[in-house]
Structures are given as C-alpha cells and as structure tokens.
C-alpha cells in the first residue's frame, strides 16, 4: 500500500533526478562564490538522501520490482522510461545516496579550484549511478550507464593528481569498449524478443511459457506482473521491448524443458554482457584501469569509484547475466571461467596489493581482491553465496570508501601517498588510528564487523559447490589480513620518523562527521545484519530459482488459474491509455 502511494509520488524519479536538479541550480551560481557553492552542494546532497531513505518502505514480503514508474519515452523503438527497484537495488541506491553525501562532504577543503564545475559533475554522476540502479528498461539503463562515464572522466582528469590524464583516458576508453559490446548484446535481445513471441514457428507455446515465467518471477507482485505482461503483449504483436524483467521472463521460460533462448546464443550474449560488467567490476585480466583511476582520482572520486561504481558491474551480473541467461550462467564451462577469474582476482589482487608502495594503490588492489570474492559468491549460484555477495557489495562500499577517505585524510595533510613517508601516526593521530583500525578489521572480515558476514556467507555457499574453491577463497582472507595489517603496521606503528609527521592534527570534526556513519554502519551490519539481509533475501531466492529451478527443493509458485491470456489484454489496454 505504502509502496503504491510512494510510486504515485514518483519517488524513483525524484531519487534519480534530484541530484541533477541540484546540478542545474548550481549552474546559476557565481563561480567565484565558492563558499556558497559548497554549502549548497552539501545541503543538496543531504536533500538527495532523504527521498532515497523512503525506499526502505520496500515491501520485503512481497518482493519483486516495486515503486514502478512507466511512461512512454521513444515509442518508435519501444524504449520506455521505466523505473523500478527490487531489494538489491534498494540497498544499493541507499548506499549510493549515502556515499554521495560523504563524497560531496569530504571535498570541502580538498577541492579549491573550479569548485562549481566539480560539484556539478559530482551531482550529475550521482544521477547517472542512481539511474542505472533504478532502470527497468535496458535502453534507459544503457543511457545512464554511459552518461555516468563522462562526469567521472572529468573528475579524474581535472581534479586528479599527477598522472590524471592517463588514468582518466584509460578509465574512459576501457569502460567504453565494454559497454559497446554490451550494447550489441542488448540489441540482440531486443530483436529476438518479439521475434520469438510472434514469428517463431512455435510462438504460441513460447508466449504461454513466457507468461508463466513472468507470473513465477513476479509472485504476488501485481504491478510487476502488469509491467511484464504489457511488454509481452506488445511483443506478441511483433513490437519490440527493452524491459529487463520481460527479458528475464524470456530467459526463465522453458520449451519442452529446453531454454527458449538456445544455449549457444545465451553464451554469446553472456560474453557480451560479461565484458562490460567484468571491466566494471573489475575482474582479473581487466582490472588495470582500476589502480590508475583510483590512485589518480581525488578522494571523492576514489570513494565513489570504489564505493559504488564497482558495484555496478556485480549488479549487472546479478540483474542481467544470471536471470536473463540462466543456462549460460550455469554452463560448466562458463562457471569454470568465471570462478577461475574470480579466484585469480582474489589471490592475485591480494598478492599484488602486498607489493605496493603507494597507500592508495594498495587499497585499490585490495578492491580487486574483494570484488573477486563477490564474483565468486555470485557464480556459486546459491542463496547463501548470493546473499553474501550482495551484502558484500554493501560492505565493500562501506569499508573501502572509508579506507579511501582515510588515505584522503593523510594526503590532504601531507600531499604524499607513499607508505614509506608515514610511520608511527598512532602517536600523533590516535582518533584516526582508531578509525583506521576499525575499517582495517572490517575490510579483513573480522566478526562483529560487516565484512565477516558477507565473506562467511560467500564461503559457505561456495563450499557447497566446490570445496577447493572455498579453500582458495579462504586463502584470500589470510592474505587480506596480511597486506592490510602490514599497511597498518607500517603507517601507524613504530616511531614517527618524518619531521613533517610530528605535528599532524588528528581528525577534524568534519572528518569525524563522515567517518562516524560508516563506522556505525560497519558495526550495525556486523552485529545485526538481519534487517539489511531481509531486503534482498527474497529477490535473491527468486534469482537462484530462475537460474537453478528447484534449488533446495523449492519451486517458484505459479499463481492459481494458470496462464490466462484473457486477463492480460484489458490490463495492457488500460496501461496504454494511462501511459501514453
């Protein structure tokens, strides 16, 4: 009920576009009035967080896609402005809004030139990311996905450190290559969907099967079913659609027990999506843009990159690859490749992190390792691991953001990132040392802090599939403790060796203000993750059932009455009236 009221108020549109509105308002500011711009940007970021918090009213028992908004956008190609979120995106959107506030806030002192442009770009970036999480239309998704690159490119390229141009161009081109391939996959899906439902020799059967699948994945969620049914009805008349959930229904549909989309095609499509998402995650051989981009970006840029942007890749896998291409996702060859790359990422990332002399680069490589863990959790394809993986996305967003902020704190004071330039900081900055310790422990997965829950669930799920994988992943945990504690030891312990370090001020109040929420979240998720887990446990359950029907002896319920074409038509007609 609540959900519907909020959807009427276009809550998702507000959440998505509010930062962009702020950016537009900022355009009218005199660029010399830096203080005013700063104040406005900060207040606006907080304002953007408020509607995002309303999303906690997501109905966890109902599940599925909620807060749906649906307006015709480009009728010529069937692209619609469709927004909607499930539990996974709710959690990630709230994280994005929160990290957004922190990213804006932490730039208060650090950014001194081109302040206005900086905040405008930061807010635009925010809209891009939120749009990706909220899109239910692949075309819209793709637009947001690409739009997001531009502000990030400028943030790295303009406000970064010495080698920024190289890093920015590398980031941009690398990501662009991936997304172009994804576009091909999206287009292929776009073309086959109406083809299967209207021109295929057995299109009637496929239609029925897809309708059943749509009912299964939407469960009791009426509005979600209506959205899918509308796309299916259009497709039955040969009209194309970009709706993600309809594609999921197609992927889940079975024809005589065989997938409707043939396995070969699924694997090709998988490869297309894979390249884009794997670059974003980043998975093992595609990760080299990350250390450069993270290291060169300003603190806020690194925070957003590590905290949110990387999650877009894993989110993509969970939203596209698994449910739309379930048979490719569980194909043993694909799994072997994915798991190999994930484990390589874990071990390799950790070992390379150990060799770093640059503080920020070390944290960046630790991200490679942690994201490998999340990927492993996703491709274990069971509930525990997937729950763990989604939770770990959140955890990584919290702890790695905090670690980048921590680097930012000392970088602002000393303007060097070399680990060797720091030693014994615990003496001069005890509060900082405490925060850093908590976040280090969160990052290496100490129980009672957030990282542990995610890692443990992932390990548990992975163990169920293959004991050896779990053993490798657990190695990553040992190595993780190694490089993080070594970093801590080198920077925080010992005598203060550099003269410049002797008078470093401890955390300012402003810095406390952005660390405390993160610390609080780390403890909260570590001690009582149930509320957070409950948001995505149901969507995760459905995704697992989509990929592996009958996992753990469960079945997706088909609603009583079975597939009925009669009911769907008037709904679609009503939809057409209201939507266009």
């Amino acid at each position: 009920m609540n959900e519907q009221i909020l959807a009427q108020y276009h809550i998702l549109t507000i959440v998505t576009w509010l930062p962009a509105v702020g950016a537009i308002i900022l355009l009218f500011f005199d660029k010399r009035r830096k203080a005013g711009i700063r104040l406005f940007a900060n207040l606006w970021a907080v304002l953007c967080l408020i509607p995002a918090l309303f999303l906690v009213t997501y109905d966890r028992h109902l599940g599925g896609i909620q807060f749906i908004e649906d307006v015709n956008w480009i009728p010529q190609i069937g692209a619609r402005y469709q927004l909607g979120v499930d539990g996974i995106s709710v959690v990630l959107i709230i994280l994005t809004a929160l990290i957004g506030v922190i990213a804006v806030y932490c730039s208060w002192d650090y950014i001194q030139d081109r302040v206005k442009e900086y905040y405008i770009l930061l807010l635009l970036l925010q809209t891009g990311i939120l749009g990706v999480f909220a899109s239910m239309d692949m075309f819209l998704f793709y637009v947001f996905w690409e739009v997001m690159l531009v502000p990030m490119y400028f943030i790295i390229g303009v406000w970064g450190s010495e080698n920024r141009l190289y890093a920015a161009i590398k980031f941009f081109l690398y990501t662009l290559v991936g997304s172009v391939v994804m576009l091909l996959a999206i287009l292929k899906l776009y073309f086959i969907f109406p083809e299967y439902l209207s021109q295929h020799p057995r299109s009637e059967e496929i239609l029925r099967s897809v309708t059943v699948a749509a009912q299964m994945i939407s469960g009791e969620n009426e509005s979600m079913l209506r959205m899918i049914q509308f796309a299916i009805d259009r497709a039955a008349n040969g009209l194309p659609t970009f709706n993600i959930m309809a594609m999921q229904a197609l992927g889940t549909a079975r024809l005589d027990g065989q997938p409707v989309i043939p396995l070969d095609l699924q694997i090709w499509l998988f490869a297309g999506f894979f390249l884009s998402f794997a670059i974003k995650v980043p998975m093992f051989p595609f990760h080299t843009w990350l250390p450069d981009a993270h290291t060169e970006a300003p603190t806020a840029g690194s925070v957003i990159l590590a905290g949110i942007l990387l999650k877009l890749g894993t989110y993509g896998f969970v939203r596209f690859n698994l449910p739309i291409l379930p048979d490719a996702s569980k194909d043993p060859r694909v799994i072997q490749v994915m798991v190999f790359l994930a484990i390589m990422g874990i071990v390799y990332g950790a070992l390379v992190a150990m060799a770093q002399r640059d503080w920020k680069r070390l944290v960046a490589y630790s991200s490679v390792s942690h994201m490998g863990m999340i990927m492993l959790g996703i491709f274990a394809l069971n509930e525990n691991a997937l729950n763990g993986a989604v939770l770990q996305m959140l955890n990584h967003g919290i702890s790695t953001s905090a670690l980048f902020l921590i680097v930012g704190v000392v970088y602002e004071r000393r303007h060097t990132r070399l680990i060797a330039d720091y030693s014994g900081l615990s003496h001069v900055m005890p509060g900082f040392a405490a925060v850093f310790m908590i976040m280090t422990m969160s990052s290496i997965g100490l129980p009672m802090l957030n990282g542990f829950i995610g890692e443990f669930l992932i390990l548990r799920g992975v163990f169920e599939e293959n004991k050896l994988w779990a053993a490798f992943a657990a190695t990553g945990i040992v190595l993780g403790a190694g490089y993080m504690l070594w970093l801590y030891q080198r920077t925080m312990f010992g005598q203060v060796t550099h003269e410049a370090n002797k008078k470093l001020p401890d955390l300012y109040k402003r810095e406390w203000a952005y660390f405390l929420p993160l610390v609080f979240l780390a403890f909260w998720i570590g001690l009582y993750p149930k509320p957070v887990l409950s948001y995505f446990s149901k969507p995760v359950e459905i995704i697992v059932q989509q990929v592996r029907p009958g996992y753990a002896g469960k079945e997706l319920p088909i609603r009583a009455g079975g597939p009925s074409r009669k009911r769907a038509v008037p709904i679609a007609a009503r939809h057409a009236n209201s939507g266009e």
Partner: protein, 710 residues
C-alpha cells in the same frame, strides 16, 4: 536468578571497554577512575559467574546444555539469516537446510569451567595490571582493550554455536594483536603483533572451512545439535585408525585452527614474540586464557575428534612434539618472559597430548590448573620486571629472593606446581594426563606418549629450576645503573629493587592460593579423591562409559607412575639447582660439550628464520613481487600495448592522410589558387563591400526582371 543474568557476564566488560575507549581520552579520567571501571566490570562478571555456577550446579547439572535458543535464558537474536541452502555432505546431501546463526550464549559444564577461569584469573590480572601499568600514557587504552578481550574470551567460551565461537576466536585474536602492539612505538612489538595476527589467521583458515563443512554435513552450527547428530553413525561414521574420512577432514580443519590459537607446531612461532606486550597481557592472554582456546575447542568438538582415531593420533603427536620442542628451546633462553612463553607452549602441548589420547577432561583440567600457576609465574615475572625497571634479561638478575619476598615465595609455589610436585595443582593435572596417556585405548602407542610426557616433566623441571636459579637465587648481577632502560620517560632507577606494591602482590598471593588448592578439584581416586572435575565435565563428552570405566580402574600401576614422575622431577630439580648454584664449572663444561645443540636451542632451531625466508619472503612476497611485475608489464602492458597500437595505426593513417590523400587535395587547391588570382582581389574583407555587391546584384536582378521579365 543468576541464570537470567548470563548475558551480563560478557556484556559488562564490553560496556566497560566501550566506555573507557570512547570517554577515556577526551574526559582525561584519572587512573583510579579507569581502574575502578575496568576491574569493577570484571568483578561483577566474576560474581555473576559464581552465582550462575552455584545455581547451575544445584538445579541443572548433569543436564548438559542450557542454551538461550532452548529458552534457558533470554537475549538471543538471529544474527546471520543466510537463506536456504542445500547440504553437500553426508546422508542428507542435496536436502534443504536453512542457514541461520544466532547470537546466543549457553551454559554447560565445559563453558562453566572456562567462565570461572576467565573471570577469576582475568579479574586478578586486571588488578595486577593497575600496578603494572601505573604511569603509562595509554592507561585508558590498555584497560579498554583488556576489557574488550574479556568480552571476546567470554563470548568464545559461552557461545552456543560455532559462529559465536568464531566471533570470540577472532575477537581474542584482535585483542591479542592490539595488546601485543600496545607499545606500538617499539619495533619488536609492532612486528610481533602482526605476526600473531597473521599466524592466527592461517589457523582460522582451517577453522573456517571446518566450520562450513560442519554446516554442510549437519545443517546446523548449534553445538547441542551438532554434537547430538555427530554422535549418530549415519552422519559421521567412526573411522578406523589410519583412515582419513569425513570426521578426519573436519577434525583436521578444526585442529589447524587450534594449532594457530594454541601455539602448537607448526604455528607456535607467534607466541614467544608476543611477549613484547605488557606482562599482564602475557599472563592473561598468552598464558591463562586465549591460548587455551584451542584445547577448549577440541573438547567442545570432542565427538568429531573421537570418531577419527587418525586425527587423535595426529593431535597427540603434535602435542607431544610441541611439548618437547618448546621445552628444549626454553633451555637456552635468557629473556625471562621468553622462557615462560616456551613453557606455556610446552604445557599446551601437554593439553593437546591429553586430548589426543582421548582424555579431554584431563586436558581441560590441566588448562584449569595451568591458568593459575602460569598466570602466577607471569605476574611474578612482571613484578620482577617492574622492580628492575623493565629489564627482562635473566643474566642481569639473580639473588632477588631477599629483595622481593612475596614475589619469591609465590613464585616458588608456582615453580613447584609446574614441575609437578605433590600435592600442588600441576602435579594432579599432569599426572592425570600421563596416566591417561599410559592407559589410552583410543590410539595406539600410549606408552610412548607417556614416555615423551615423562621426558617433558624432566625438561620442565630443569628449565624452571634454571629460571629460579638465575632470577632469585645466587648473587645479584643487576647493575644499579642510572641509565634509563625501556621506557624513556621513566624516572632514574632506585639503587636496589624493591618489592612491588600491594595491588600487585595481592593478586600474586591469591593466585598462589589457587595454585595450591586447584588440584583438589580433580583429586584422583587413586589418592582417595573422587574425580569431581571429570564427573562434572562428563555430560559434554562422547563415550562417557569408557571414561567412567577408566575412572574406576586404577591400581598399582598408577601409583608407580606417580612416584616415577614426581621422583624424576624432584631429581632433575635438585640436579639443576646443584649445577646452577654450586657447580657452575660443570655446567659450563656441559654447555661446551653440547654446544651445537645449545646454540640451536638458543636460536630456536632457526624456525623463525626458516618461515621468514621460505613462506614470508620466499612464497608470499616473492609471488607478490612477481605478480606485481606481471601486472604492470603483462596485463597492463597488453592494455597499454593496445593503446600504443591504436596510436601507431592512427599515426600511420595520419601520415598517409597527409602525404597521399592530402597531396591530391592540395594539388586541386593549388590549381584553384592559381586560377583564382583575379577573383581574390574582389575579396576585401569589408562587410559593407559585400553588402554593396549584394545590393547592386539585387537591383540588377530587379531591373532585369522588370525589363525582360514576365
């Protein structure tokens, strides 16, 4: 009534830790306030523990478990609801199980013993630490961390499922890390703390996997459930000796975890280094409580171990090997705390030996008595260290007996206890282990293990007597120098060492009393006792019948063994005393004769160097560097290479564009230019010229229209 307050036992120290950690620095509390808060919280825990003990004993024992899930007491909540899973091992493979771990505590005979040890010894050490840490800059931080440790340790022993055990397990590791590195400005402390954490993590690797395997097999992590199901042959078949099946694999993982935490071969190397922490920390964490967590865990999961004789044998072998190796290394150490550290490792070896031969109660009993006498030894050492202004080298001690009488006499009791002299605590528990090893039917070769244990007795007696001789007896060798040592902000030392203040000696006395009487809790029937300790623990043990049988069966052999070990210890003590006090030349000669062995012992058999060069520098850092180079050269090289190729091809096309395509264009352009010389003159660049031309053109066009148009 007390059973309702069980959750307070860990919660109080946590609360205190939080208060001290958050407010200690900003409010600049005095040492007195901090001590009251820190020790008060632990004391309250101790009181509640005592109450729980009395109530549990009267009303519930021998009902084995009292858990919060079962409604025994309130305050548990679902901690990790992980969703549904399929079991992957055992008879129920492929069936559904819901993964949910609860945050809950349980009270049973085993955790009761541990709770008593932890709160009692912990409280005494807290009090001692007030004196020991006096004047230290981070007083609040020290007690916050020590209290946090109490919370973690109590969570470890009271948790009612594997995950809770793991919380405590990692948590004590964290506190150990923080407290070893308490004086983080010191290079040794900073290296030791990290070493301790990493080595423990290696152990956790095994524990974690074993824990997950337990869930995959039983579908629950609840101790009560796991132990009930594990006893079922359908789930976990009993294996023959030499077989390595499911039980063995799980036991192996658990045991790897235990070797890390309890400093057994091959993961014992962190414990001696951990002595870089303040001495109360060494006493509490690295002697009395945390390092015994491995023994606790083995006993907790005794069903699984008992099903795998192979792993039991491995446990016994590792325990035996550790007890000998550590004792031998203790021979040549000169740092008083290092000797005690190796002694701890050696005693832990005894406990593992006990577990390995199936005498879990004996292991826990030794844990219990060891907590008293080893804490006493460490605190005594701490008292000496304070008196000598942070000097730990025994070569600079000697003759302290007359300066520090209380410390000396309490130390003597501990010394006698650890050497196994009748009727002190150490004697009772150690003989229990030896006797059980001798008569074991769980694994083959019991007599050999007994013999190794006996050798250990002799070695223990020798190095402990050496310690006594070097510190308390003989002539003083400490230099009453004015040179400050250790902490720089310390006042110049007094002329001669003085007895420590009451706040430090009272805990010593209390522990000495404990050391003297703790043994009577488990007085063996052979000496007229009734094995109360063993009967107490029986409900949580698998194959109770066998135990009861062994209890009943005693005879002449047991007396002979007791006499043999006591006599051996006494003789070695006498010999060592003689050598170190009266026959230094002979000692020197002996040392010369076995010089290679002596050096090897002093250098700890180069194990640290071996680990460092092979595992740390060789494998980890080696791979790390190789991968780093691969990353920049190969992986990133490919990326940059493709960028270079793109740039190269673009330059190539740029070149061809310039010299081929453009040439043609330029040729056309040149022709036009030549052709257009005349026309160029008209282009003045003045706007109005053009406008004029346009106007005239317009006029001409209009005129033309009127003239020729229509």
């Amino acid at each position: 009534m007390f059973l309702k307050l069980v959750w307070l036992i860990p919660a109080l120290p946590l609360l205190s830790a939080a208060i001290l950690g958050i407010f200690g620095r900003p409010l600049r509390w005095s040492e007195r306030t901090i001590s009251w808060i820190a020790c008060g919280s632990v004391f309250l825990s101790l009181v509640i523990t005592a109450g729980v003990f009395v109530q549990y004993r009267a009303a519930h024992w021998p009902e084995p478990y009292l858990t919060s899930e079962a409604g025994g007491f309130p305050h548990s909540f679902v901690w990790v609801p992980g969703g549904d899973a399929e079991l992957s091992l055992g008879p129920r493979a492929g069936q559904r199980a819901t993964f949910r771990a609860e945050w809950s505590y349980q009270v049973d005979p085993l955790s009761m013993v541990m709770m008593v040890v932890v709160t009692l010894v912990g409280f005494l050490i807290h009090v001692f630490a007030i004196g020991y840490m006096r004047g230290d800059g981070g007083f609040y931080r020290f007690f916050a961390e020590l209290n946090l440790f109490m919370f973690m340790m109590l969570t470890l022993v009271m948790g009612s499922n594997f995950l809770m055990l793991f919380v405590g397990w990692e948590g004590v590791g964290l506190c150990s890390y923080l407290l070893i590195g308490y004086w983080f400005h010191r290079a040794d402390a900073k290296a030791a703390s990290m070493k301790a954490f990493i080595v423990n993590r290696i152990g956790d690797f095994g524990f974690l996997l074993a824990m997950i395997a337990v869930f995959s097999l039983f579908g629950t992590l609840q101790f009560t459930e796991v132990m009930r199901l594990a006893a079922d042959e359908a789930y976990l078949p009993t294996e023959a000796f030499g077989m390595f099946g499911m039980a063995s694999w799980i036991a192996l993982g658990l045991f790897i975890g235990a070797t890390g935490k309890s400093a057994q071969i091959p993961l014992y190397v962190w414990l001696p280094d951990a002595m870089a922490g303040p001495t109360p920390v060494s006493a509490l964490i690295h002697a009395a409580t945390m390092v015994t967590a491995g023994v606790y865990m083995l006993t907790r999961t005794n069903v699984i171990f008992m099903k795998s004789p192979t792993m039991m044998f491995v446990v016994a072998v590792i325990g035996a090997a550790t007890l000998i190796l550590a004792a031998v290394i203790a021979f040549a150490q000169t740092d008083i705390k290092k000797v005690l550290a190796y002694s701890t490792i050696s005693q832990l070896g005894y406990m593992f030996l006990a577990c390995g031969v199936g005498a879990f109660t004996a292991g826990i009993f030794h844990l219990f008595t060891h907590a008293f006498f080893k804490a006493l030894l460490f605190l005594g050492a701490g008292s000496i260290i304070i008196a000598l202004h942070h000097k730990q080298d025994m070569r600079e001690m000697g003759g302290l007996k007359s300066y520090m009488p209380v410390t000396y006499w309490t130390f003597v009791i501990a010394w006698l206890a650890i050497c196994g002299i009748f009727p002190l605590a150490g004697f009772v528990s150690k003989d229990e282990i030896l006797w059980r090893a001798f008569t074991t039917e769980v694994i083959p070769g019991g007599r050999w293990f007994w013999f190794i244990g006996l050798v250990g007795v002799a070695l223990t007696a020798f190095y402990m007597t050496r310690l006594m001789a070097l510190t308390f007896w003989g002539s003083p060798r400490f230099v009453p120098s004015t040179q400050a040592h250790g902490l720089s902000d310390e006042p110049a030392p007094h002329e001669e060492p003085r007895e420590s203040p009451k706040v430090m000696t009272l805990p010593l006395i209390a522990l000495a009393v404990g050391t003297a009487v703790a043994g009577f809790v488990g007085w063996p029937p052979a000496l007229g006792g009734s094995h109360r300790f063993e009967r107490w623990l029986n409900p949580v043990l698998y194959r109770r019948a066998t135990n009861a049988e062994a209890m009943a069966h005693h005879g002449a052999t047991e007396y002979i063994l007791m006499v043999v070990s006591t006599l051996l210890a006494a003789m070695v003590m006498a010999a060592a005393y003689h050598l170190y006090i009266h026959r230094k030349q002979t000692l020197q000669a002996i040392v010369e004769a076995i010089r290679p062995l002596y050096i090897a012992s002093a250098r700890k058999f180069w194990v640290d160097e071996f680990y460092e060069s092979v595992f740390v520098r060789g494998l980890t850092l080696g791979f790390s560097r190789v991968f780093w180079r691969t990353d920049t050269r190969v992986v990133d090289g490919a990326v940059n290479g493709s960028a270079w190729f793109t740039r190269f091809s673009s330059r190539l096309s740029g070149w061809s564009d310039l010299f081929i395509v453009d040439m043609i264009v330029n040729a056309i352009g040149f022709g036009l230019r030549v052709f257009s010389v005349a026309f160029r003159a008209a282009q003045t660049g003045f706007t109005q010229n053009y406008a004029l031309v346009i106007t005239f053109g317009l006029l001409i066009a209009t005129a033309a229209y009127f003239i020729w148009g229509s």
